[in-house]
Amino acid sequence: MSGAHVNPTRMELTRLKKKLVTAMKGHRLLKDKRDELMRQFLDLVREDMDLRVKVEKGIRSANAEFVLAKAGMSEQTLRTAMLVPKQEVTLEESTRNVMSVSLPVFKYRTRTADQNDIFSYGFAYTSSDLDGAVQSLSDILPDMLRLAEVEKSCQLMASEIEKTRRRVNALEHVIIPETREGIRYITMKLDENERSTQVRLMKVKDMMLQEAHHYQE
């Protein structure tokens, strides 16, 4: 498997041993990171789903009311009524750090102090269905903002988990076995060299003895 050529030297051996220690430490840390991210992700994604179901239901019923409202009045009146909004929502965005993934946290502020100050039209020319529709949308707004926060967090965490998982797998199945293989190769090569040196020395000794004393075993 080990495709890369390794120099069978002591220096290389030390380097590979250090690399193995780092890789194993990194593997353990990344594995812990993955597990913790996954735990938090599962909690978050459950909340995300609950919120989504709730928000979709709210918007659907508000939409039904809007259709009724539109049926009861002329297009022009409706457009005029919605032309200049009275309320404005702005978000304060901050971030929350979970396992070095920064997740958005939204805090919303409405322009007028009264949150129910939402009707941007006089009541004389519009149908009462419109009031109800606008009110029900306004009720669902906090949940919509929370949904945005949670869903974005889920998306960010999902991609971070995917990345971390790939790293863990690469370390576990590629880097660590390859390094181990390299270390084994170098140790065996060095042992082999040592043995052949020994044999050579013994051979040379024999030859020298024979030459000096015509000594034979």
Partner: protein
């Protein structure tokens, strides 16, 4: 300080104007116009963009580009013509990406 936008066909989103969100109607859910406006919004400090599921279907490529970025958060909402289930499936997609298969909501 970030702003909130709503994109979609006029009938689905005009109500959001009343509660203080900026609405950007896209005529006939045109992909070209939608993509242009979406890019504009993302570059101009809109932190949260709600998009109707119908419009999101034609802008899928653009939207997936913003998935792994910190801002903006793009959230699908049902339009006036009903719910296509696209929003729920985007949550499932997150689970699939993280876990490998959808173990939570497959049932």
């Amino acid at each position: 300080m970030v702003k909130i936008a709503v994109m979609g066909d006029y009938d689905s989103i005009y109500g959001f104007a009343a509660i203080g969100l900026s609405t950007f109607p896209i005529r006939d859910n045109s992909a070209e116009e939608g993509a242009k406006i979406l890019r504009n919004l993302a570059g101009n400090g809109f932190g949260v963009i709600y998009i109707t599921e119908e419009l999101a279907a034609v802008l899928a490529g653009e939207i997936s580009r913003y998935r792994s970025m910190t801002a903006p958060a793009i959230i699908l909402i049902p339009g006036v013509r009903g719910n296509t289930g696209e929003g729920v499936s985007s949550v499932k997609k997150s689970v699939e990406q993280a876990v490998g298969s959808d173990i939570l909501f497959s049932g």
